[in-house]
Every structure is written in C-alpha cells, then in structure tokens.
Symmetry: C2
Subunit: 398 residues, 2 copies
C-alpha cells in the first residue's frame, strides 16, 4: 500500500493547467495570477515625502538658521523646483519632493513665523523622511510572480500598477457525486437507517477557497447503473470527486464501475488514517477522479492532504504552508499509518501549541467543527509526547 | 494618544448586529451562524458499523468456534434482527448494526466457507468496531453555537442535520471612499506626480473574507465639497471607510469634514506604527466611520487590527486567533509605539518561526505582498531578540 507521500506524488504527476483567462481585477480575489507582473514605472514614481514638513537642501543647514518659505507642495500637484539658497518648500505627506531638495524636516521639528521657518537643532541627513523614487521597485522590475494568489495586498499592488485586468488561471470544472443507498438529500426526510448527504457540501466549501463553484452535484444509490450514469455524465469535467463505495464491502462498486467507464486506476488505498480506502485515477488524460471514503472526517482529510495539493499544483502553487508547533499533550497512535487528527491552537508555555480535539473516530463530524486544522502524526512514531513538534495544516491555509 | 488596546476597545463598544436572514446552506459559505443548532436526532442515528465484517453477540464467542451466516446488512437497509445463538450477520461499513448484535469482527479477521464463518482468535470486546447511536451527539444536544463561521466542516454538519436553510448574520452595507488629489482610478493614465487608487481594492478584498461585497466605491479629490458629498451619500451605510486625508497636512480635511457632516469623533490617532493617524467616529448610532491613513501598508494594518475586530464583534465572533511564534532574528523598534511588521513563516530550529520581511516603510506595498501576516512588536520592548516569542496575525486568519 502506498505511503501518503507516494500517493501524493502520483497525484501531483497528473496536475495540468486548466488554461488562463483575463478578468477584471475587482473580480479576481482568491484567483491565481497566470502572468508575471512588472512595474510599469518606478515605485515610488517620484521622491515622495514621508512626512508633513519642509523640503530643503542639506548643504544649506550648516549655513542658515532661518529659511524663507517660498512655496507649498501638496500631493497631486506637479513637481516644483527649489532653486534659491536658504529657502524651503512646505510639503505634505505623499507629495513629490521638489527638485533640488534632498531632505524633509518634520513640521513638529520646526517653527513658522511670517514665512520664516526655523528648525530645532537636529541631526539631519540626506534623503531624510523621503521615500526615494524606485526604492520599492524599479520600472520593468518583476514585482509579482505568476502563480501568486490574489489577496488583499496583491490586489492593492495590481491596482497601483494600473492593472484593471489581470490574466489568471482558469478554474477547473468540478463534479461531485455522493454514492450510497443510505444517503438522502439534505432537504429530504430520513428513515432511522438513512443519513443525509453532507460530503458534497464539505467538498464544495473547500473548493470555494479557490473561488471554484461546483459545476454539478449528484446523489446516487449503490446501484452500478446509477453510479455508471453519473460517471458518464461527468465526461467533460476536469475533476470528478466521488464519495462512498470505495471500501471492500459488498456494495462498494465505485472502483469497478470507474474502470468500466474507462477511468484508469492510478492507486487504491493509502497508508493514512483516516481515509485509507482513497481511490485515484484518470480518464483520457483529462478527468482526474478522486473516489473518497464516505465518512465525513476522511473526506475532509482527503481534501487537505490530496485534493488541495493537486489543485494547487495545477495552478502552479506550492503545497499549502504548514506550521510546526508543539503538542500540548501526549498522543498514542493506534495504526501503523500516518495519522491526521483535528486540533485547536492552545497556549503552550510562551508559544502556541496544538491541542488534539477529542473525537469518536472518522465518522464523528461534530467534534471536527471545533478544530482549526489537522495535525500530522508521522507513521514511524508510535507515541507523541507533550512538547513534541508536529506539522499543523490550518483548514484555511496560511 | 490612545494605545492600540484602548482604541480597539472604543471601536468594539460601537459593535452592533446588522440583523439576521435565512439563506440556503449552499450559499452560506463564510457566513456567520445566527442561530444555535441542535441535533435533530441522535448522531450516529443508529449503532453504525465502522468496518466491513460480521455482526454477532459477544457472549457467543466463548461458546462457538463457527458461526452460521444468516443474513447480510448493507448501508441503507432497514435494521435487521439477530436472534439465534451461534449465528452472525455480514455487515458493511456504515450499515446499522442488527438488533441483538453487540460487536463487529472485521472481514480481514475471518474466514467464510459455505455460509460458515470462523474467526481468528482475537481479543474481542463489547461494541467493538461499532459507533454507538448518539455517541457524537444526542438528539436535542447543542452541536453548533451561533456566531460560528460556516466553513467546510460546519457546512457538512449542517447538511447532515438536514439544514437546507440556515439563519445567518446579515452583512453590513459598506462604502469605501478614497481621497487625494494625487489619486487616479486604476484604469486611468497617470502623470508623474499621480498615483493610482489601490486601497479600495485592498479593503474590498479583506471584506471578501466575510463574503461582504462593497456597496459603493468612490474616488474623490482633497476638495472639502467633494469629500462632503461622498460622506453625505453614504448615509445609509453601516460602515464607511475613507482612506487618505487624516494626517495633519494642509490638505487633510477628512476629520473636519466628517464632523461637519455630523459624524462624531470617537478618537483620532493611535500609538501604532504604521497607521498612527487613524480616525474613528460614528453618525446617528448607525454608520461607523474609519478614516485610514492613505498609505497602503497602514491600510492593511488598520484592517487587521481595527476594522476586522469590529466586524467580528458585530457578528458575535471573538478576535482573530493569533499564533505565538519565535522571531528568527533580532528586531529593533524605532518608535515608542506598538509596531506591526509583515512576516513570513520560516523554519526556526524544529519549529516554525517568524521572519521579518525587509521593507522600506509604510509606503512600500511590494514587499508586503510576499508576507503571510503581521507580527506584533509590543510598545514597551525596544529590541526583540532572536527566539523571542511574539504574536502573529495571519492575513487569512486561522
């Protein structure tokens, strides 16, 4: 049986671009840049005053004790010129420093009387309180690499650069099929032996992290024909996710039906807990298929450990960043597999540690709602001790 | 001048609900629950088999070495009854355990020949491999509290409970006004002394974290009449955010105009770097107004430190969770204020530490795009040493 790392590698090998498209910046939030972004001009575009104060010449400071105020420079005005010795120009934060001036003295460190400015004796140095033209980025410089997620700060930068339109990675077409005779739709009434479909909601929510709407959601019984029909009708999808029917039970037909529909098995089963029965395959080098165990916790683990890394690789993004934190208590592993367990962040000495959430196993979807993410109990370590450092995968990502 | 904590407390005192509304679960992602959610029945709703195997009676195990297979129990079938001694029922993962049975032995630990099942000698105990009815939640039990963000796992739980519709906190109406003679719209061409509006994109992106679309975005000059008009036309907003014009410069009319428009000053200026000139007020106990410094980094800091906590309080959510991590290098503070600096996560010994991103000050919006969040340099500590633990606020939250 494959290890988690081996399985993930096989999955990542199937990653491919879904193409690119150009959209409005205002609609690009959470999308992934598909172009390198270069500075259209220097940033700052001019020597910018970082303070409200007076712009003058450093060399004048030793010569003069009083300066004649000759002009005012507001933000948004054309750049003025400072020519005469012993003069200064009042300047506002964000305004361009006048040509000829090479420092700004703060208004707090000055005294103005009838157009005459005196400065408190201070150590002054060249370019003081000035953000120099091009110090953040030079014209033509690469400022954002492709495969960057467009978030608050990157959208601000793109706006500054005048990028009303940006080229982003196109989104995959995703279909979710929940299988199981016992599964009813959320709005339906249930008999005592029936349960409601929850995995399609969980999976759909996760895809929303990347702004992906699910193209199609289906609910089918364990009957082969029904499963077959659902798979066949997902032919033009980029990603097909099934839940349920992948174990070795007598009604677990999903892998078999997938093969009958021409989906090639890449692997079945992984040394992971929860989530061992995971099945992964591909059809016509186009649709990748994840068939997940039916239980809700396994589904969530499978998304973070396998599906999200696939998606990110398709967008050219690295694996999700993890945070290495100390355990706040011991944990014994029951299986020989790599285990993923829901955690919250909790104080641990001066730092933040990981506190395992009590739960009743992979079917328990109430306790997991209180968690902030998953922690990883490595396969080869039987017992984690309080203070041992493990990887933490926040549900949201960092 | 107020400390950060004092300013935030004054802001939180103005928090209020924006009402509630009932929406489809499938559209509730990232929204905040406004009702307590109780289990509509026991979870699991029946004694559920956690394995593919055989259901039988514990007391029979000592008596019999062979069991007669009398039935099969698939998921989604009505619950069967195990009556006769020395018999067993084949059962699939997720199926209800037959009445009368009290343990499940895994199919891997058994041998089936002509309807006779033999089990390998194993330690067996009552309820083995069975998730007991109600062990995750009892009917009527509170399973999700109001003021919980609807994410992947909570939407799965809500679906399980049959909640096709959920009552969530209504969203505030938010208006953003960027001020400044030097500011041009993103699509416009710029002269050398002009820059483009970026803050409205940054702020709008942040609000998207909570699924909030900005109701109105305006760009105005530093002329009082224009600012006034923009403020007046935001009368029916819950939150008005201005950027620029709040310092002490000669064109900084925003606080004055806000007062003229009947917005009461709650505070102006905070001991924070970057972002000192922050102005906060309220009009008619209805519209809260944040007037932010114009520079992009201050804007981002102000959102995470002041605006987001306000928003969360309005939704009944606690402050964003922070993570306490060690610094990977020293940092000297230049001001006497609480400083917020952009960081990335980086290896630090066995754990994850905080690495400061080099930047050119509060106007530098290129370097901040490479950061994962903000770290806090406390006001009273001049120098942070490598290994010192500080608070980290991820841009995305945890």
């Amino acid at each position: 049986m494959l290890t988690v790392a081996e399985a993930r590698n096989l999955i990542l090998q199937q990653s491919r671009s879904f193409g690119t498209e150009t959209i409005l910046l205002s609609e690009a939030y959470d999308r992934v840049l598909a172009e390198d972004i270069y500075a259209d001009r220097d940033y700052p575009p001019f020597n910018r005053s970082a303070m409200d104060g007076y712009a003058l010449q450093l060399k004048d400071i030793e010569k003069y004790t009083e300066f004649k105020l000759v002009a005012e420079m507001l933000a948004g005005e054309s750049i003025k010129i400072l020519t005469e010795e012993g003069t200064c120009i009042k300047i506002m934060t964000g305004a361009p420093v006048p040509e000829g001036a090479n420092l700004v003295i703060r208004v707090e460190d000055s005294e103005l009387n009838n157009d005459i400015v005196k400065f408190k004796s201070l150590s002054s140095k060249i370019w003081q309180n000035i953000a120099l033209q091009g110090e953040d980025a030079k014209i033509g410089e690469l400022v954002l690499k492709r495969s960057t997620i467009i978030n608050a700060s990157t959208s601000g930068l793109l706006a500054s650069l005048g990028r009303n339109n940006v080229t982003v990675c196109s989104l995959p077409k995703v279909s979710i099929v929940s299988t199981g005779n016992e599964i009813k739709a959320v709005g339906d009434s249930v008999l005592p032996h029936q349960i409601r479909d929850s995995n399609s909601y969980t999976i759909a929510s996760f895809f929303q992290h990347y702004n992906i709407d699910i193209a199609s959601r289906k609910l089918v019984s364990d009957r082969k024909e029904e499963i077959k029909h659902a798979i066949e009708s997902s032919k033009d999808m980029d990603i097909l996710i099934l839940s349920g029917g992948v174990s070795m039970g007598d009604a677990d037909f999903v892998p078999e039906v997938l093969n009958e529909c021409g989906v090639k098995t890449i692997f079945h089963k992984v040394q992971i807990k929860p989530g061992k029965p995971l099945w992964f395959g591909i059809r016509d080098n186009q649709t990748v298929v994840f068939a997940l165990p039916g239980n809700p916790v396994s589904c969530q683990v499978a998304f973070k450990v396998f599906i999200e890394p696939f998606l990110r690789a398709c967008f050219g993004l690295p694996l999700c960043q993890t945070i290495k934190l100390a355990m706040t208590s011991d944990r014994r592993k029951k299986s020989s597999f790599e285990e993923y367990f829901p955690c919250i962040l909790a104080p641990f000495g001066l730092t933040t540690g990981l506190q395992q959430i009590k739960n009743n196993g992979s079917g328990d979807f109430t306790s997991i709602t209180r968690s902030s993410g998953l922690a990883v109990h490595p396969a080869e370590i039987e017992q984690l001790k309080e203070g041992d450092v493990v990887e933490f995968i926040p549900w949201k990502g960092v």
